[in-house]
């Protein structure tokens, strides 16, 4: 065991460089007036947190949560039946179906966002069929875009739990007098809960931190918290405010994550 421990060294180094160090920097910058252009002297202060009172930021945080909840709920409602049918399928082409579902994930997400953007413009390729979606700037555009990005992340954890589920349990329920519908709600659904929790986490977290997607599909009109953070770091170079907002989001997401985990009684979550 001791010899093997040396093998973890590269990973530990990598983790330190890419996670521990940046986190330490964010904490430092958030709780001080450290300025990237005047390194050297700084004092610790909580003054920067007043930025959270700004209506722009509170609205963005609210938007992020709102879209994340709506998109996650819709992904669950669309994704569960798909996962269920896939898992129950006895088709020889089952693997092919699964591959089709993963395929979009392998293409560049930015490319897919731009593709949706083009389709949502008043003038798009769809004009050929006499259709003008003209959705840019609407909530619907963001919701459709997010669902298309994150749906596979909802389907897969649920699919893998359903696929591994012991068929005998379903038979046992029927044997004990449960109809198909009751079997689903009393046995299949509760037993796939671990997969649902994973799916929810894997959908909700990226939806909450998205920035390129809302920026393009809202035409800059709807700000999510990701856009605010990007703005602080990339445009106004206000690293202190950017770090504070990032930190707050992180804490909120950890709280959310722990709250979701409480529902996962079986501890079968894939993460």
């Amino acid at each position: 065991m001791k010899k093997l421990r040396a093998l973890s060294f590269p990973y530990v180094m990598w983790m330190s460089l890419t996670i521990v160090l940046p986190m330490a920097l964010i904490l430092l910058v958030a709780f001080s007036d450290l300025n990237i252009f005047r390194l050297g002297s700084f004092t610790f202060t909580l003054e920067g947190f007043s930025v959270l009172r700004s209506p722009v930021i509170t609205t963005a945080i609210r938007n992020s949560f709102r879209f994340a909840f709506i998109v996650t709920a819709l992904c669950f409602l669309i994704g569960y039946p798909v996962a269920y049918l896939l898992a129950r399928s006895t088709s020889r082409h089952k693997t092919l179906f699964v591959t089709f579902l993963i395929l979009p994930v392998w293409s560049n997400m930015l490319l897919r966002i731009v593709a949706w953007e083009r389709l949502f413009f008043p003038n798009s390729i769809l004009n050929m069929f006499g259709i003008s979606l003209n959705l840019i700037g609407t909530d619907l555009a963001i919701i459709i875009g997010m669902i298309s990005m994150y749906l596979p992340f909802m389907i897969f954890p649920i699919y893998s739990v359903l696929d591994k589920m012991d068929q005998a349990l379903i038979e046992a329920a029927i044997d004990l007098g449960a109809s198909r519908v009751k079997t689903f709600f009393k046995v299949t659904l509760p037993l796939s809960f671990g997969g649902v929790v994973s799916g929810v986490i894997m959908t909700m977290l990226p939806a909450m931190t998205a920035f390129a997607l809302p920026a393009r599909l809202s035409g800059g009109r709807t700000l999510l918290i990701g856009n605010i953070i990007e703005d602080y770091f990339m445009r106004t170079a206000n690293f202190n405010a950017g770090s504070i907002v990032s930190l707050v989001m992180m804490v909120l997401m950890i709280v959310l994550y722990l709250w979701i985990l409480r529902f996962d009684k079986e501890g079968e979550t894939l993460i």
Binding site: D166, A168, L169, E171, A172, A173, I174, D175, L176, G177, A178, S179, K182, K186, V187, P190, L191, F193, K265, E266
Partner: protein, 342 residues
């Protein structure tokens, strides 16, 4: 006795492969019947057909004179104890057992009464709130039995329920299951590949192989009068020898003429005879079938003695030991000879 289940000319195929071929079998009320055979013989498929988890291709199954195909699986008065128990991992012991009664929308107080009674019957009183993952294999087994029996089915199907238990526990459960069946008056259909289990528990044994029923009978019949070589060798150890039926009650085994109790095979008919190892008595060489003791193994209650007669190996179970290398005569009573058609 009343016929409860009547299986007529049943055929079942999976992808053009016939797994059950022309099965005819009736099961009486209150009977403990065992489907016995090696894996792949179709016994589990037959059980699943009765339970409603498979659909048959030809023939029919009558349940109390009604075609069972008209009753969906969840409405049949039949419950199953599954091979790996199939207990619901998200429910505790109480909830598992109560599942069937809840589906029937029984009042809460009745459910509680019945579940506690069932727990008592399987000797798991006080385990109500236990998570099933914390139970041992034997305890899970008992929960599975309680979960099925609490519904008071007319028929209980058991799919190799004891296979995962260790020897001692298995023997205890055999006894307990038999007791429960007697006390409750429920028909048990039991599937196993373990011949000893089948002989110990059953009223009737159905020996199956390759999708066919080979023999139906009481354990004593099946053991003493196996219909063919497969049944004879599957049910316990046996010496199967080529022989010639000279005429009724006379058989020639290894050039020695014996009186036997079998008849109706015709004259000068080539047959096979089965002689159980415990039916053979070894005597000092005195003619008849003679052979050389080549091996003596102590088995606890008896010795297993191997005697070579030319190239034919005899297995003998005896409480008396022999010395390796001695010449002995193999003797047996007329009743010990079981003649089978070749």
């Amino acid at each position: 006795m009343k016929k409860l289940i009547d299986i007529q000319n049943l055929v079942k195929q999976f992808d053009d492969q016939v797994v059950l071929n022309n099965i005819n079998l009736y099961i009486n009320e209150n009977e403990f019947i065992t489907l016995l055979g090696p894996s792949g013989c179709g016994k589990t498929t037959l059980l699943r057909l009765i339970g409603g988890f498979e659909t048959l291709d030809e023939g029919k199954i009558l349940f109390e004179d009604k075609n069972i195909a008209d009753i969906p699986a969840h409405k049949r008065p039949i419950n199953t104890v599954f091979q790996k128990y199939a207990l619901f991992p998200h429910l505790n012991v109480y909830q598992n057992i109560a599942f069937g009664l809840k589906m029937k929308k029984m009042p809460k107080e009745t459910i509680e009464q019945e579940v506690l009674k069932a727990l008592e019957m399987v000797k798991l009183k006080g385990y109500e709130s236990r998570n099933i993952k914390t139970l041992s294999g034997g305890q899970q087994q008992r929960v599975a039995i309680a979960r099925a029996l609490v519904n008071k089915p007319k028929v209980l199907l058991l799919d190799e329920p004891l296979a995962a238990l260790d020897l001692k526990l298995r023997q205890d459960m055999q006894y307990e299951l038999k007791e429960m069946q007697r006390a409750l008056g429920i028909t048990f259909i039991f599937v196993t590949h373990d011949q000893e289990e089948a002989l110990t528990m059953s009223d009737t044994v159905v020996v199956m192989n390759e999708g066919h029923i080979l023999q139906i009978g009481t354990p004593i019949d099946i053991y003493n009068e196996p219909k063919n070589r497969f049944v004879a060798s599957f049910i316990g150890e046996s010496n199967i020898l080529p022989a010639t039926m000279i005429k009724d009650y006379k058989v020639n085994i290894l050039n020695t003429e014996y009186t036997c109790v079998d008849h109706g095979f015709g004259e000068q008919t080539p047959v096979e005879v089965v002689i159980r190892p415990e039916d053979i008595e070894l005597k000092p060489a005195q003619g008849g079938i003679e052979g050389l003791v080549t091996d003596v193994i102590f088995k606890g209650v008896h010795y297993e003695i191997i005697v070579m007669v030319g190239t034919i190996e005899f297995i003998i179970h005896s409480t008396l030991s022999q010395t390796v290398g001695t010449q002995v005569s193999i003797t047996f009573e007329p009743e010990a000879i079981h003649v089978m058609r070749r």
